[in-house]
């Protein structure tokens, strides 16, 4: 049976094509202005790479902020459920799943079968999301991919007082003015997000192992900050962290527990 999961994220549209042997192919593309068109393009590209026709697909499940606008789906499912499902598939022992997207962040506690027991979402606020790191990377004038490695070169922790991405940008500007090393500022940015995430995780209850999914999983510096914040030795980050939601959706489409 072939199913497809499509994650209509705030920034990127992600697609996973799932077969009986596992993931057949993955695709990701910036959502852009016309998300409908992007979704169709990503879907077409994924199916082509998978060498699968639309008629061969048994079921499509959509998730993500824009899931209701997915052009060709049979069902929609929440980000929380899909993140937990996908994370559990890749790491069956997972009990705490942290999903940080471009505009939303979620802390999820699940049971041994990957079912959601409790969750917390930050809403309507860019702080603690990918948008925050992007704004900070701009303020620090480093490419976003460099933010992680830069922060790992930090020699000291400095607190970031601002709770808002816009205020944090001004704070960064004034720190640059005062010759604070960029590496320390990059670390401060990650520490700030980690601290927000830690508060959210404590609300749902921290239970190792912890899995981090979403684009921020690729940021090695952030992972270190999160480990410190949660006081855990390890955090599992899947190979394609931003595609876990789409994977979860594809699994939901497959049905079963």
């Amino acid at each position: 049976m072939i199913t497809v999961g499509i994650d209509m994220g705030a920034k990127n549209v992600k697609v996973v094509v799932l077969g009986d042997q596992g993931v057949i192919c993955r695709a990701l593309r910036p959502a852009g202005l016309d998300t409908d068109q992007t979704a169709r393009q990503v879907m077409a590209a994924a199916l082509e790479e998978a060498r699968v026709g639309r008629g061969d697909v048994a079921r499509i499940v959509a998730t993500g902020t824009g899931r209701e606008d997915a052009p060709d789906s049979d069902e929609t499912m929440t980000d929380v459920s899909c993140a937990a499902r996908g994370a559990h598939e890749l790491c069956p022992e997972a009990r705490t799943v942290i999903d940080i997207g471009a505009e939303e962040a979620r802390a999820i506690r699940c049971d041994a079968r990957g079912r959601v027991q409790d969750f917390a979402i930050n809403e309507k606020c860019a702080a603690g999301t990918g948008a925050f790191t992007e704004a900070m990377a701009r303020a620090l004038e480093v490419p976003i991919e460099e933010l992680g490695p830069l922060s790992l070169r930090s020699t000291q922790a400095i607190p970031m007082n601002a709770q808002c991405a816009v205020f944090a940008e001004s704070e960064v500007v004034s720190m640059i003015h005062n010759n604070v090393p960029r590496a320390d500022m990059a670390r401060a940015v990650h520490d700030a997000i980690a601290s927000r995430m830690t508060a959210m995780v404590r609300r749902v209850g921290l239970e190792p192992p912890v899995v981090l999914v979403g684009g921020l999983g690729r940021n090695t510096g952030f992972v270190e900050s999160l480990k410190r914040g949660l006081t855990v030795e390890t955090i599992v980050v899947p190979e394609w962290p931003e595609l876990v939601g789409a994977l979860g959706a594809a699994l939901v489409a497959r049905g079963g527990a």
Binding site: I121, N122, E123, K124, C125, R203
Partner: protein, 92 residues
Amino acid sequence: MRAHYGYEDGSGRYYITIDTDRCNGCAECVRLCPAAVLEMVEDDPLEPAAVAAVTAAQRNRLREACAPCKASGQGALPCVAACAPDAITHSF
């Protein structure tokens, strides 16, 4: 003066309100708060009396700061229980 300290975001409204006309400056709330949320400050610039207030450090993170007391489910919050003139209220 009714001083509303706190914030609101997508998940709710988190305010601690201190009625400084009722506050008698006893500072019991400051002493009993386990999270250093409260402090004594000058109220009227032209009069010397001190009243309770929420600290600048905690004002924007009240949800997290007050969570331990609220989660313990022990009945009234320590600060509210300690206040004889009923000067402190929580919106959450």
